[in-house]
Symmetry: C2
Amino acid sequence: MDEFSLIQKYFAQLTAPAGDVLLGIGDDCALLQPPAGEVLAVTTDTLVSGRHFPVETAPYDIGWKSLAVNLSDLAAMGAQARWFTLALTLPEANQTWIQEFARGLSDLAAQSKVALVGGDTARGPLSITITAMGTVPAGAALKRNGAQIDDVVCVTGTLGDAALALRLLSESDLSTDLRARLDRPTPRLAAGLALRDIAHAAIDLSDGLAGDLAHVLDASGVGAEIYSARLPSSLEFKKYVAPTDALALQLQGGDDYELCVCIAPEKFDEAAARLAVFDVSLTSIGRITSETGLRFLDANGVTIPLAPNGYRHFQ
Amino acid sequence: MDEFSLIQKYFAQLTAPAGDVLLGIGDDCALLQPPAGEVLAVTTDTLVSGRHFPVETAPYDIGWKSLAVNLSDLAAMGAQARWFTLALTLPEANQTWIQEFARGLSDLAAQSKVALVGGDTARGPLSITITAMGTVPAGAALKRNGAQIDDVVCVTGTLGDAALALRLLSESDLSTDLRARLDRPTPRLAAGLALRDIAHAAIDLSDGLAGDLAHVLDASGVGAEIYSARLPSSLEFKKYVAPTDALALQLQGGDDYELCVCIAPEKFDEAAARLAVFDVSLTSIGRITSETGLRFLDANGVTIPLAPNGYRHFQ
């Protein structure tokens, strides 16, 4: 039995076939049924061992994270996640590794109600490419180019935990919870769906707030002021990180996979209330300005000098 | 400028945006418009250097072939090819290589009217994963499980050329045409569309006729007799290969990317006439039997002993 058959076998046990999969794995193509009136949202991301996750990452977490980073892109469009394909390159056939990888992947797939509909395996240094597909009613997708002047800039959850975990990797007192923020990010699918008819623009925070928000500003032709004192931090983050040190992790650390959304000020309360239903916080961290560029202000309103470049892969 | 931006730049020059791409590369997801009443056909294939193509293959041809093998799967479903994503892992940033790769990829994309809608690049040993998407009217897709007893088993084009080219790689008199059969296969998209309402079952020949046809037989719960003397050969193939040697190349050599289809006998002439319009031959090579299993018969009707296993990747 080859690797992909093993993965499939594991999936078959855990994920019931969805009604929108007319034909699953086993023919030349899968056949999928998008709902009438909806358009297809498609994204693809490759994760390479040692570059996108630490080499010693548990296979369960690698499976989870490979899917999570792709679902996060669907979340940022306000799309309903539905299907994905998997291309897995492995240095060797290790059945235990594959089972654990498949378990992490299928746990998130089951939780997110997405179906594995195709894939391929190859021999080589460990890397995973997933293409995730979702659907969204025509015209309803959240894009990067819709931010409007005076919008509130908001983020879900807390920032900087993944970057902190990465920094603390070698320390023995790195907690399981903090490590999980790096290894098993939660794609904010429900939040994306809930904010779809409220938010003007959205992006997921994969490379760090500074770089990712800059994409929204560029696409929308606007600027933003971000109030550093408002950046949401977890209790663990506050415990480990001195305030002087927090900003670099929260603005330029990647891998948080929270959503950053721009919302009209009068809609903020409703947006926050919608996310509170499923225990996701929404924090206002700044506002969109007509003056272009991204400015970070300290508690006294003084601009903090900071190059607005997030982590960029493969330069 | 990173590698993917380079590829994108090259694509922008060559492929006009299609009407079914509502939002292309540059946001969290692409947004795509499937036609009303059609379902989505999705396939993904990884090509690894030295495994799926010779390491010395020209980058133009690598780009072409990476897309071709995926489009071939869409062809086998009778789908209209529309979109694809690209994940490219490269050992080094070589601009000339990337441009040539993009040129090969975009030449086939333009010819096949498919749009690049997303992608990612990473550093590592050369491998390419493409996910190709097409659409097909609900209920009209060609599957592997529809072969019926007494159907004619047919193949497009000629068989064995790619396997022969692979064998002759080191020989200086390997012709450009023969080499192209290995390096730049033609996905039979037009043939798949033309046979969609005639054929009962179809598969593309990626791993060799013996193995691929066995999948159709297994899925359909039938068997087949194949008459070896009828297997279509190119003039070059006949020139190089002794008849005693031909069978192994034609039945077990992979990479032909022709279609194998099962058609009611009375429909064969119409099917062949439809393909003749765009210069693709269709050859009847055998018939579907109620007795399961795959039998190859010589010109005297005597069974040829042959294990029905095509080339399998990564065992």
